[in-house]
Structure formats: C-alpha cells, structure tokens
C-alpha cells in the first residue's frame, strides 16, 4: 500500500499537469530579527520552485529558498534556508492590477508555510508568508511586497519578520 502511494506521488511529480513546472527565482529581501537588531539583513533571495498543477483555486507549489545578504555591520551572511509550500488562493484574469504588467496577466495572491533554518544561530523556525500582489503568467511569476513572519519552533515565539519587496520567478521546464 505504501509503495503504491509512493508510486502515485512520484507519478504526479513526474507528469506535471502544468505546462512549465520547474522554475528559479530571485528576489530582494529584508529581514529584522526581533531580539537581535544587529542581525537585521537585506540582500538577494534565490529560490527553486516546483509547480505541478495550474489550478484555478488553491494551486500548490514546492519552494526551496536561500537568502544571501549583509547584516547591519556589513558582514555577508546567509540568514536563512527554507523549504516549504506555497498555495495560490485564486487565479483570476479580470482584476484591478493589470496596469502593473505590459500584458494581460493572472492575479494569484498566495500564502506560504515553510520550515526555515537560520545557520547563524543554528535555529529552526516556522515561516508563514503572504504574497498579496502576485501576478502569474505561464512561465513567470511577479511578486511585489510579500511580508513574512518566522516563529521559533522551540519556544513558539515570534523570531523575525521581513519583506520581499520584489521577487521574479521564471519557469523554464
């Protein structure tokens, strides 16, 4: 039974129903660590995305992210690695944000939940994010002003907050 389930999962992953399902992204992130303001950082966030479907509602995608930037003191750091799931809540064409793009584009606001690891502090975190201005084409995602919060998995307390001011994801396969 377990083998059958695994085979089905692999089959779904291998035969994606979306035209282009594998993508990479780059964004501009900023993050503030609540208890340690000196660890506030900003820089580039790189991501790999797997989007097997193209559903009009609750369209899921798997995401792996790594951020590289500088802290308040100017030191180069990798403040987080992240593995998680993002879900596009809806997919609509007739929306008020078409003026943002040169072509007609779908509006797909999304929420995300992820496991985040901060190698600077050897800390495991849970991350929740919201992308209210996410626009999608067949092979591109454009995201603007996407905030996120992270919680310490040990204590459950808010650890940090941040924003991805822009993020561009290109689906190549």
């Amino acid at each position: 039974m377990r083998k059958l389930l695994l085979s089905l999962v692999l089959l779904v992953l291998c035969t994606s129903l979306s035209a282009r399902s594998l993508g990479y992204g780059v964004g501009f992130y900023g993050q503030n660590v609540e208890a340690e303001p000196a660890r506030a950082s900003s820089g580039a966030e790189f991501s790999l995305v797997y989007k097997p479907f193209l559903l009009p509602f609750l369209n899921p995608s798997l995401q792996v992210k790594n951020a590289v930037g500088t802290e308040m003191g100017g030191e180069w750091v990798a403040p987080y690695w992240e593995v998680g799931v993002s879900v596009d809540l809806i997919r609509i064409i007739d929306h008020p944000f078409n003026f943002l793009a040169h072509n007609i584009i779908a509006y797909t606001p999304s929420v995300s939940v992820a496991y985040q690891y901060d190698p600077r502090r050897n800390l495991s975190l849970a991350s929740v994010g919201f992308s209210p201005f996410k626009l999608s084409q067949k092979d591109f995602w454009y995201e603007f002003f996407s905030p996120f919060l992270t919680y310490d998995l040990g204590s459950g307390e808010l650890d940090s907050w941040g924003v991805n001011l822009v993020r561009y994801t290109f689906f190549f396969k």
């Binding site: 501009f28 900023g30 503030n32 506030a40 308040m72 003026f99 603007f144 941040g162 924003v163 001011l165």
Partner: protein, 181 residues
C-alpha cells in the same frame, strides 16, 4: 522671500512642458538601498515611491521618496529631486508613436533628508545618478528603470554615499498613447 522665489521658479519649470507638448506624469514604485552611511541611515531596505514628470522629449524631473522598511517598518524617509536626460533617444515622441523603447538616463539633483551630522531636515546631499537601462516609455504607459546607481555627496560631513535602486516601475497617467488618439 527666497523660499517663495524658489517655489515659484520650480512651479514655472514644471508647467513649461505643458506648452511644449511633451508633458507626461507617472506614479513611481520601486526599491532603494542607501549604502555607506549606516551611522546616519541604518536602513537595510527602502521602498521607493514618487512621481516622474516629463519636461521635454528627452528631459524628465523625478521626485522620489525613499521610505525605510527594514529594520524599522515605515521608518525615516528621504526625498530626492533629480532632473534626468535620456541618452539613447527621445523618451517620449509626444505622439501616438511609441518611439525608443530602451534608454539610459543620466541626471543630477539634491536629496532632502535628516541624514546629516546634526540630524536636521534639509538639503543633505548632492546627487549624480545613472540609470543604465530603462524599458518602456511614457507613450506605452509603463516603464521599468533598472540598476540605477546614484552617487550622493553629503554636504554636512563632506563624504560620499551610494544609492542603489534595483528596479523602479513608472505607471503613466498622463502622456500615454491614449492621450494622443
């Protein structure tokens, strides 16, 4: 008296293009980073917002407010006033013809901010700016300005800083193809 003269001159300067036929107006949104002045501005990330006003077919005037998002959400702000010239051709044709879609901007201006040795609000920096790549134009209704680098000379401590705008979007409300139909 001096303030009134400067304000009047600025208003006159801004109304001139209305008679030249090239006037366009855009709302600007984008990113900004203020580097090498962490003692005066500890921001790690800023939101750039403002307006871009077309003065002639190859000159524009940009008002850009840079508001801190990290580490303080909607913290301190600065205002940059910059006149810029398009180097690769007309930025607007003043007609329904799209014209040059890719351009480079170079310009100069001032920054008004509290980022001075005394911490007082005023003209704090002289600016020299280069935007190596713009895509789009007022006539098409949208424009992206990419990788803008601005050298900022701080008048209070005579030191240089750098501003970097990864991307800025101009959304034109006036001066697009719709106005020339």
């Amino acid at each position: 008296m001096r303030k009134s003269v400067v304000l009047l001159s600025l208003l006159l300067f801004l109304t001139l293009p209305a008679f030249a036929g090239y006037f366009d107006l855009a709302l600007t949104l984008g990113t900004n980073v203020h580097m090498f002045e962490k003692d005066l501005d500890p921001s790690r990330m800023k939101l750039a917002w403002g307006a871009s006003v077309g003065l002639t077919d190859d000159w524009e005037f940009d008002v850009q407010v840079d508001t801190q998002l990290v580490p303080t959400f909607f913290g301190s702000s600065s205002i940059s006033l910059v006149a810029q010239k398009a180097l690769l051709g007309q930025r607007s044709t003043g007609s329904s013809t799209a014209g040059v879609g890719i351009n480079t901007l170079v310009g100069a201006g001032v920054m008004i901010s509290p980022y001075t040795s005394e911490g007082t609000l005023g003209i704090s920096h002289l600016l020299l700016t280069l935007t190596p790549l713009t895509v789009g134009s007022p006539v098409t209704g949208k424009r992206e300005r990419l990788f803008a680098l601005t050298l900022a000379y701080n008048l209070s401590n005579q030191k240089f800083a750098l501003l970097f705008d990864l991307v800025k979007y101009d959304f034109y409300a006036i001066g697009t193809y719709r106005d020339y139909r």
